[in-house]
């Protein structure tokens, strides 16, 4: 009973953490405003938050192995938050940069690599969000796991998108740091998996 309560509390805390930036932006928007170029600030803040969420999601199995807090059950919730931010990010881009004109967006999609990469990453996340329910899990069986491995390519595409955008300023510090962390998570997860298999 107490365990159940603790789990719920933990899940709720994590939910609030994931929702935090959205609340933060909304409050700022309604009160002090979002600075000189609010559209630019929102787009960038959303993008960075999505990458941060993806990294947290990808490191959950690793963290679970050491802390065992039942973290894996929270993966779907965080994943859906991540997808929601990605959808918002894409929608905001279409609105702020193209006044929601589909033709203008499509032109970008085929001429600007950073838009192409970002959209591909979004499509991967969309597929994961659509199949995140139990019904899909049962229906897809073993393929479900294969499909959901796509969170890795989604993260890398997102990072390439970020780096290509930063290329405008020749400023690769942040994307390089994120790539390094992603590599670290991948390496550590692989090692952990090997150990686990060796034990069996």
């Amino acid at each position: 009973m107490r365990q159940a309560l603790r789990d719920r509390l933990f899940a709720a805390t994590l939910w609030c953490w994931a929702a935090g930036p959205l609340v933060d932006w909304s409050i700022r928007l309604a009160t002090v405003g979002l600075g000189t170029n609010p559209q630019e600030l929102l787009l960038r803040a959303m993008g960075q938050w999505i990458i941060a969420l993806l990294m947290v999601i990808l490191s959950l199995p690793l963290l679970e192995q050491f802390f065992g807090l039942g973290l894996l059950r929270l993966r779907r919730m965080l994943g859906l938050w991540c997808f929601s931010y990605a959808a918002l990010h894409l929608l905001a881009f279409a609105q702020f940069e193209h006044d929601l004109l589909l033709a203008a967006f499509m032109r970008d999609l085929f001429t600007r690599p950073f838009v192409t990469m970002g959209t591909l990453s979004f499509l991967a996340l969309l597929a994961l969000a659509l199949t995140s329910n139990r019904w899909s899990q049962l229906k897809l069986g073993q393929n479900w796991k294969r499909l959901h491995w796509m969170v890795w390519p989604a993260a890398w595409l997102g990072l390439i998108h970020y780096a290509l955008h930063k290329a405008g300023k020749n400023d690769f510090e942040a994307p390089a740091m994120a790539a390094l962390i992603l590599c670290l998570i991948w390496l550590l997860s692989r090692q952990a998996r090997k150990k686990r298999l060796a034990r069996h």
């Binding site: 000189t36 938050w49 690793l62 405008g168 962390i181």
Partner: protein, 311 residues
């Protein structure tokens, strides 16, 4: 795998988590307080004369124009210059040298520059390559006044501008974003065009450090990065100068970089723009005008040129 590594990962992730918010706070914190304190700076005296070069658009707020700047010598974030430039960038003493292919090379102090010609107020549209624009009342006079005094030789075809390169005053120089010092260039006829402004002030005040004080130039029909800030040298040359942005990404930043809605940039369609401080969150973007609206005055400089190739 050790527990230490896991802890390290957690730490790194926690850091990333705050990245989103970390982005917003500094941008907001700097914008009001420092912008306001600088307003205390005394007005130019005598005040700049009214000129015919006045755009009828509403001027951008001083607080936006002085807190949202691209000036990489002080950092790549647009909130960096207002945080690092005022106070650190010593605006006096300051000298500007005019040399190269000229009969009379000379080094001017800022006070010399203020005396050289009558300051005019010119309200120009300023279009950043990133797809945003401002409307700024500059104070200065045509750069041609300064260049003519140096008596350009017939062989002078281009003008190279160099920004200060002082690591003590400019913390951003430690980054390798661009090759320093920042250099820009114009063709001789562009530099001598009456719209090209040697700029010593804005909003009736001396030019603030973060906007390129004490002296810069402004070419209103080109993307903002062409108008180099805090310049120390103007050199007349026979060959086309190497420009910092062109050097870093030649396929993205051409030598001319005239505002052109029909030539897209790798990251920004240049067809439209957002007016800073005026357009609400969901406002439609404004169409960008050829030569930033100065086509009538400058079109003839480029007659017969393919502006898609010479972007």
């Amino acid at each position: 795998m050790g527990r230490m590594a896991a802890v390290g990962t957690v730490g790194a992730l926690a850091g990333l988590g705050t990245l989103g918010q970390g982005l917003i706070a500094p941008a907001l914190a700097s914008s009001k307080s420092q912008g306001a304190s600088q307003k205390a700076e005394a007005d130019l005296s005598p005040p700049p004369q009214k000129s015919s070069h006045v755009l009828m658009d509403r001027p951008t707020d001083w607080s936006d124009a002085t807190t949202y700047n691209n000036f990489y010598e002080f950092g790549t974030q647009k909130s960096d210059p207002v945080r690092h430039a005022p106070g650190r960038l010593k605006l006096r003493p300051w000298t500007l040298t005019v040399d190269g292919l000229v009969g009379k090379p000379k080094t001017y102090s800022v006070d010399d520059l203020f005396q050289l010609a009558t300051l005019e107020e010119r309200v120009y549209r300023m279009r950043c390559v990133e797809g945003w624009s401002m409307v700024i009342p500059w104070a200065g006079y045509s750069l041609s006044h300064l260049i003519s005094r140096a008596q350009p030789l017939g062989s002078a075809k281009y003008v190279e501008f160099t920004t200060l390169n002082d690591a003590q005053m400019m913390p951003g120089l430690s980054s390798r974003v661009l090759e320093w010092p920042y250099r820009e260039g114009l063709r001789m006829d562009e530099a001598m065009h009456s719209l090209t402004l040697l700029t010593l002030g804005m909003y009736g005040k001396p030019l603030p450090a973060q906007n390129g004080g004490p002296v810069r130039f402004v070419v209103p029909w080109k993307y903002g990065f062409k108008s180099a800030k805090s310049i120390v040298r103007i050199r007349l040359t026979e060959t086309q100068p190497v420009c910092s942005w062109h050097l870093s990404a030649p396929h993205e930043y051409g030598f001319y970089s005239n505002v052109n809605p029909s030539v897209a940039h790798r990251r920004w369609s240049q067809a439209t723009e957002r007016r800073i401080g005026e357009d609400s969150l969901f406002a439609a973007r404004r169409p960008t005008l050829p030569f930033n609206g100065y086509a009538e005055a400058v079109e003839s400089l480029y007659r017969g040129m393919d502006l898609r190739r010479n972007f």
